[in-house]
């Protein structure tokens, strides 16, 4: 099991420090990814899920964000302390990333071919000619029909779905060990979403690439992931394998998220939703971050934050309700009354 461990994030703390105060965008988050595994990080915008992925990639440079604590162990090396030049060798080579917006994630002034070859030449020391071959090969693999012509095109000549395929091709060109996908399908048409997810799954299966999938869409999670971390307000609030999350959600927030997706064959007048909004990051409540929106909030929830506790093997949750009746987990099952 441990031989397969690829990435271990331990107590990661990424804070945004500005004049108006410190925002704890990611606060004490831990998880593991093994070879070939797909881990989902779920949460609303502002939950810290994207910041987590940028922390792993070491791409916080252009944000006010800074890793203030914790470790990111990639194959045993802590990426937090590693030099920029070491990090560059890992970035795009061992850990690659695709982003939410295919329309703006490709450089508009360079041809597609050049943008793919660039990473190949950098990390594999292939010649320009062989890199071009690799670009055509990987474009074929992502299902682009005329790759030899597409490499001469500029991004604005391609559709959104095509561009996201190009992005995947670019990320997979050096056969990374981990692919971080930040909302890879959110900006795409529903019909194309499934194709892109299929493509990611098939490509990574062959190369045993692990996926860190960041999404707010539980449907995507159900389809793709092996394990799930649910984030809220910079905290991991629940973590488990994908089956228990859906069959036995523990945290009221997870329960709320699940209740708000429509179920096949069920007729409801109105879908329940979680009341309120994610709090402004600089004004997080002191206790449980979810307390202002939680239908079960008690006095203690406002006073003190609960710990992330294992409620059953490989299933942890961060909620005071578990403390009260630690032996009886069935209390909340199937009772999301939103």
């Amino acid at each position: 099991m441990d031989n397969n461990l690829l990435l271990e994030v331990k107590n990661l703390k990424t804070h945004f420090i500005s004049d108006s105060g410190t925002v704890k965008a990611v606060d004490d988050v831990s998880f593991k990814i093994s070879k070939g595994e797909t881990l989902g990080i779920v949460g609303e915008s502002g939950s810290g899920k994207s910041v987590t992925s940028l922390s792993i990639m070491g791409l916080l440079k252009d944000t006010p964000g800074k890793i203030v604590g914790g470790e990111i162990l990639f194959e045993g090396t802590d990426l937090v302390g590693v030099s920029e030049s070491e990090m560059r060798k890992i970035r795009g080579n061992d850990i690659a990333m695709i982003f939410q917006e295919p329309m703006t994630s490709l450089n508009p002034v360079f041809r597609i071919g050049r943008q793919i070859e660039e990473a190949v030449i950098l990390h594999t020391k292939l010649s320009k000619k062989h890199a071009r071959g690799r670009a055509i090969e990987i474009l074929t693999a992502v299902g682009i029909s005329r790759p030899a012509e597409i490499i001469h095109d500029y991004p604005h000549q391609l559709s959104g779905g095509m561009r996201q395929r190009v992005m995947i091709a670019m990320a997979m060109a050096c056969i990374p060990k981990i692919l971080i996908a930040d909302e890879p399908t959110t900006a795409l048409d529903v019909t194309i979403q499934a194709q892109i997810l299929d493509l990611m799954r098939n490509l990574t299966e062959v190369s045993e690439t692990a996926i860190l999938l960041i999404t707010h869409d539980l449907g995507v999670v159900a389809e793709m992931c092996d394990r799930v971390v649910v984030m809220y307000g910079g905290r991991a609030v629940e973590e488990s394998d994908v089956h228990s999350i859906f069959s036995n959600p523990q945290h009221p927030y997870t329960q709320g998220l699940l209740a708000s997706i429509p179920k096949m064959g069920e007729r409801v007048d109105r879908l329940p939703s979680i009341a309120g909004n994610v709090p402004i990051p600089s004004r997080m409540p002191e206790g449980c971050k979810f307390a202002p929106r939680c239908p079960f909030a008690m006095d203690i929830c406002w006073e003190e934050e609960p710990l992330l506790k294992e409620v059953s093997p490989n299933h942890s949750s961060r909620c005071w309700l578990h403390e009260e009746v630690p032996e009886n987990e069935s209390v909340f099952v199937g009772s999301p009354k939103y």
């Binding site: 004049d19 004004r283 206790g287 307390a291 202002p292 006095d299 406002w302």
Partner: protein, 301 residues
């Protein structure tokens, strides 16, 4: 037990409410503006310049026009801090007295340009169609022509003199303001509340004055300040070329021009008036940059 201790929950709710109440546009502007240290200093320096331009002529130690042939072209000393010019006049006194001229020329030319440009921009933006096309085409032509060449051309017609410099500098400020105000007007016009007022039958003039004009004020303030520096520079350049203020007026550009012939024996004659132009223009430019960053960071040069 007189003091009621708020629970954490009540504290949170109170904090959320307070933050909504406390943020007025002005306090927000002031908070951002104070952070720009150079702009903040420039703000006080500009106030100092304005005060100096009012009281300057009456507090200067020497007469600014009376020649003193005993002290011709003497270097900086205890009596004459910035030395004397070719007529023996005290340069320090003349530079102080010249503040008034430069500020009046700078402010009035930009003000004229801003008023003209704002009116044209409001009209073009509000009425649209052919009115807009004609006004903006004229502005394009004016903008395309290098400012100082246009000013030289206008002075060629009107003749040299400070008041004609003001007119010339004002004219090439018009298209700049017209453009900004027009685009802000278009943006404001498309917002819902103007459409709503139009639909209840308010008169155009009232709509422009009550609803569109306030929406453009912050961009106008920023550009106004930024233009003053360049207006002062252009006016000084025109006087330097002999097209503006005439001797013995203590205008900085004209003083510089007078010192040119003595550059190798008395460089201080050109040094101090130039320094005055530079520092004044710098203060207005820094203030303009600071106002832009605090009021409307979207504005580009």
């Amino acid at each position: 037990m007189t003091e009621v201790k708020l629970s954490k929950k009540e504290q949170y709710i109170k904090m959320s409410l307070e933050n909504i109440e406390n943020r007025t546009p002005f306090s927000e502007f002031w908070r951002k503006f104070k952070k720009q240290k150079l702009a903040f200093i420039s703000f006080f320096f500009v106030i100092f310049l304005i005060v100096l331009s009012i009281i300057g002529p009456s507090i200067v130690p020497y007469d600014i026009t009376e020649p003193d042939y005993v002290n011709v072209l003497s270097g900086p000393s205890a009596e004459h801090w910035a030395g004397t010019d070719a007529f023996g006049r005290d340069i320090f006194s003349r530079v102080i007295a010249g503040t008034q001229i430069s500020l009046i020329v700078g402010l009035s030319s930009v003000l004229l340009g801003a008023v003209g440009g704002t009116l044209l921009g409001l009209i073009a933006g509000y009425y649209g169609k052919w009115v807009d096309r004609i006004i903006m085409r004229i502005c394009d032509i004016l903008l395309a022509f290098p400012g100082i060449l246009l000013a030289i051309g206008i002075i060629a017609i009107l003749g040299p003199g400070l008041s004609n410099v003001v007119i010339a500098v004002a004219i090439f400020g018009v298209p700049v303001f017209a453009r900004i105000v027009r685009s802000s007007t278009l943006a404001v016009k498309s917002t819902l509340y103007v459409e709503a007022t139009t639909s209840i039958g308010a008169r155009p003039l009232r709509i422009i004055w009550k609803h569109i004009f306030p929406g453009t004020v912050s961009s106008i303030i920023v550009y106004f300040t930024m233009r003053i520096g360049s207006a002062i520079l252009t006016a000084a350049a025109l006087s330097f070329l002999g097209l503006g203020a005439q001797p013995p007026t203590p205008e900085w550009g004209a003083m510089l021009s007078g010192g040119r012939d003595y550059l190798n024996i008395a460089p201080h004659v050109t040094l101090f008036p130039g320094l005055a132009i530079f520092i004044t223009a710098l203060a207005f430019n820094l203030l303009g940059d600071g106002l832009r960053d605090a009021l409307d960071p979207k504005i580009k040069e």
